[in-house]
């Protein structure tokens, strides 16, 4: 019995000492690790697909190539900062970010569009970057460039401006040439045209399985191209002080009536589509004109070069139509680098450093392949190079209208628009009813977003 007892005690002591040894070892390793953490920082960098390859025209270019190229350059000169890179998809990516914020697994740095980044700022998830910029650095941005990151509610800036891509009309000129309708395309300094001229051009090419235009009305992208038509009639989403949604103005209704007339006259593809669907139809030469951006042109040109598309496929560009004697208008997709709060000062400082690196003149010069015009003045000339699309985007940027990105609840506002657009197209509502309902729903959503804040 005594032997058994001694044996048990020895066994307990042995097991305890083994665990204690392990524990001591682990504690030692942890201490070392903690020291390392103070010296080295690991960041999580998330990005959407922007373009394939580093320059955008490599035959075997991959969507992550450019990001990896920039990150390698960054970590070479900042060896203490390690970066984990994750590519996130456009479809489902915003939801992934939202889930990450909710589960406290958000990235440290994210490149994304203005509308979404300001939504994250509204929820208090991202850092204001004002204090990290000197006056000289801010003066280094083009007009309106620095303020593209400004959140209207508190006046602070929530991303490092990266680049902008105006939305304008991208035209398959070959289709017009073949239809003998090239003369119907605008040919003035900025390629502007009236609503009647635009419709006449669509009528000339909408035949033999080709549609003149395609409307995005299947998801939240319904705002980006369709708002430009309404803005062309003089409508705006919000009142100038952003206090009221006013898209149901007489000008807005005229814009909706115009869009409906395109559907009724069969000048558009018959189904509400996503932008990706329209790009595909355009690539297949089934649409003569789409709402696009410099990246739309870049993709077509790269596909032509790589043999994915057979020519002839000559591209041209024009502004969205506007009223005679009025300025053209459009809707710019501003992209920036956001820094998420992590509660760790070292990580946040390193994340700001990375974000500023993406927004530096050195990197801004390389973003042209993504169809973006840099926000940093000194990089614009090099970046644009010989790109007709980028030059056009740079020339027309001053005409771009803010649809209300800086307003709290804009994500809900754009989500409320496309179902009303669909209601007009399937004629369950008149343009006036649809816009009134949109304003009612969107106003409630904005109020609710303010309540949640």
């Amino acid at each position: 019995m005594l032997k058994k007892l001694i044996g048990m005690v020895l066994a307990v002591v042995l097991i305890t000492s083994i665990f204690a040894g392990c524990g001591a070892q682990k504690e030692g390793a942890q201490k070392e690790g903690s020291d390392n953490v103070q010296k080295e920082v690991t960041l999580n960098y998330w990005a959407y697909w922007l373009w394939s390859g580093i320059k955008g025209d490599e035959k075997d270019g991959q969507p992550e190539d450019w990001h990896k190229y920039v990150l390698n350059k960054f970590t070479e000169s900042n060896p203490k900062i390690k970066v984990n890179f994750e590519m996130i998809p456009w479809a489902g990516g915003p939801e992934k970010v939202n889930v990450a914020i909710a589960s406290k697994t958000q990235p440290d740095v994210l490149i994304d569009s203005e509308n979404r980044v300001k939504g994250y700022a509204a929820r208090g998830a991202t850092l204001a970057v004002d204090e990290f910029f000197t006056k000289e650095e801010i003066d280094g941005y083009i007009d309106k460039g620095w303020d593209s990151g400004k959140y209207a509610v508190d006046g602070k800036h929530y991303f490092v401006p990266f680049g902008f891509a105006d939305t304008y009309l991208v035209i398959n000129k070959t289709i017009f040439d073949e239809a003998g309708a090239t003369n119907l395309l605008p040919n003035n300094e900025l390629n502007t045209w009236t609503f009647d001229e635009f419709k006449t051009a669509l009528k000339a090419v909408s035949k033999n399985g080709i549609y003149g235009f395609g409307l995005t009305a299947k998801n939240e992208q319904g705002d980006s191209n369709n708002f430009s038509f309404l803005f062309g009639f003089g409508a705006r989403t919000f009142s100038p002080d952003l206090s009221k949604i006013v898209l149901n103005s007489p000008e807005g209704v005229k814009g909706m009536e115009f869009l409906l007339s395109l559907v009724e006259e069969k000048l558009t593809a018959p189904n509400p589509e996503t932008q990706a669907d329209l790009n595909e139809l355009f690539t297949q030469k089934k649409l003569a004109i789409i709402g696009g951006a410099p990246s739309t042109e870049d993709t077509i040109n790269a596909d032509l070069k790589n043999g994915k598309i057979q020519g002839p496929f000559e591209l041209a560009r024009a502004m969205y139509p506007n009223l005679p004697g009025k300025d053209p208008v459009g809707f710019s997709n501003n992209v920036g680098v956001a820094v998420f709060k992590s509660g760790d000062a070292d990580r946040e400082a390193a994340a700001v450093k990375l974000a500023k690196y993406f927004g530096s003149a050195e990197i801004e010069k390389t973003i042209a392949a993504g169809g973006f015009v840099p926000f940093v003045k000194s990089a614009v000339k090099d970046a644009i190079g010989g790109s007709a699309g980028l030059k056009y985007a740079a020339d027309t940027y001053k005409f771009m209208v803010d649809p209300g990105f800086g307003k709290l609840g804009y994500a809900e506002v754009r989500a409320a628009f496309y179902p009303e657009l669909q209601a007009v197209f399937i004629k369950t509502k008149t343009p006036q009813q649809a816009l009134d309902d949109f304003v009612k729903i969107a106003t409630e959503k904005v109020a609710k977003a303010a309540e949640k804040k």
């Binding site: 915003p94 208090g124 994500a411 309540e451």
Partner: protein, 294 residues
């Protein structure tokens, strides 16, 4: 302590022991999230801040016309999907069972194939079939002189069009279950029915169908639960449109939670859906379980 020492506990211990792993997973991944959702539905929560608002989310749902539309659409989906899946799977199973064993395996595998194929792939194919301008469905209609139909863009057709896809890809499981049950039915009942002079219809309705009630109950419940949770095809094919005509409660819940970060409201929708599905399941058990006997 007395219970632990009792004979009853000793008899049941290993039973509980073996279901323990499943039970733990069930509690972690079903019970805990369900209770969390219940609490979350009483808060305004935007993924960073909680604010107690009581039943306001539920009141908002009562007044939300889009939620009403989603609820009605969900029921319409159920009404399309459940009866048609049940009838077709039973008919196909009966037809398959009359074939040789090799043909039976071939047909079962063919119908089951769609169950293992990704719904995303299926949706891509059907998106092409339903394309109003260049789709195969309209091409077939054009051969008999019928004008093209906007299958997914017209509120009259959109739910039926999506339901058809759901029915086709979800037939595999019920067919396997029905063929297995039909093959296992005792011959004695049919021999007795034949001696009594029953014809084929009488044999089916008086003998086969009553004997299939347990399988039918299982298929009915799983199909109805699945139909109430119609989501992926709506998400991929229509985005809930046109004008909310195909928005289901689950899709609206997903958008509300993950696109618009209103987790409280989305949780309230989830609880409402849970109550409805649980209610239906309870009624079915009550109605069918009394006649489930051999």
């Amino acid at each position: 302590m007395d219970f632990i020492k009792s004979k009853r506990f000793k008899n049941q211990f290993w039973g509980y022991f073996f279901i323990l792993p499943g039970l733990i997973f069930f509690i972690i991944f079903v019970v805990v999230p369900l209770i969390s959702s219940l609490f979350l539905s009483l808060y305004s929560y935007n993924s960073l801040q909680y604010k107690w608002i009581g039943f306001k989310n539920y009141i908002d749902l009562i007044n939300d016309v889009i939620f009403h539309k989603a609820l009605i659409n969900t029921f319409v989906f159920v009404l399309w999907i459940v009866p048609l899946t049940m009838v077709f799977s039973l008919l196909i199973s009966i037809l398959i069972l009359r074939k040789t064993e090799k043909l039976q395996s071939f047909f079962k595998a063919s119908f089951y194939l769609s169950v293992v194929v990704s719904v995303v792939s299926i949706s891509l194919v059907w998106n092409w079939i339903y394309n109003p301008a260049y789709g195969f469905a309209n091409y077939l209609l054009s051969l008999i002189g019928i004008d093209p139909v906007n299958w997914l863009g017209n509120p009259k057709y959109v739910i039926a069009s999506i339901s058809l896809i759901v029915i086709i890809y979800s037939l595999g499981q019920p067919i396997i279950l029905y063929t297995a049950s039909l093959g296992a039915l005792p011959d004695t009942y049919f021999e007795a029915a034949e001696i009594d002079g029953a014809n084929e219809w009488q044999k089916f309705f008086k003998v086969t169908f009553p004997l299939l009630v347990p399988t039918t109950l299982y298929i009915f419940i799983t199909t109805i639960v699945g139909a109430f949770q119609t989501f992926v095809l709506v998400h991929l094919l229509t985005g809930g449109g046109p004008n909310y005509a195909s928005t289901t409660v689950l899709y609206l819940m997903y958008k509300t939670a993950f696109s618009y970060t209103d987790f409280g409201l989305a949780s309230a929708m989830g609880i409402v859906l849970f109550v409805i599905v649980a209610g239906f399941s309870a009624i079915q058990f009550k109605l069918f379980s009394s006649s489930v006997e051999y």
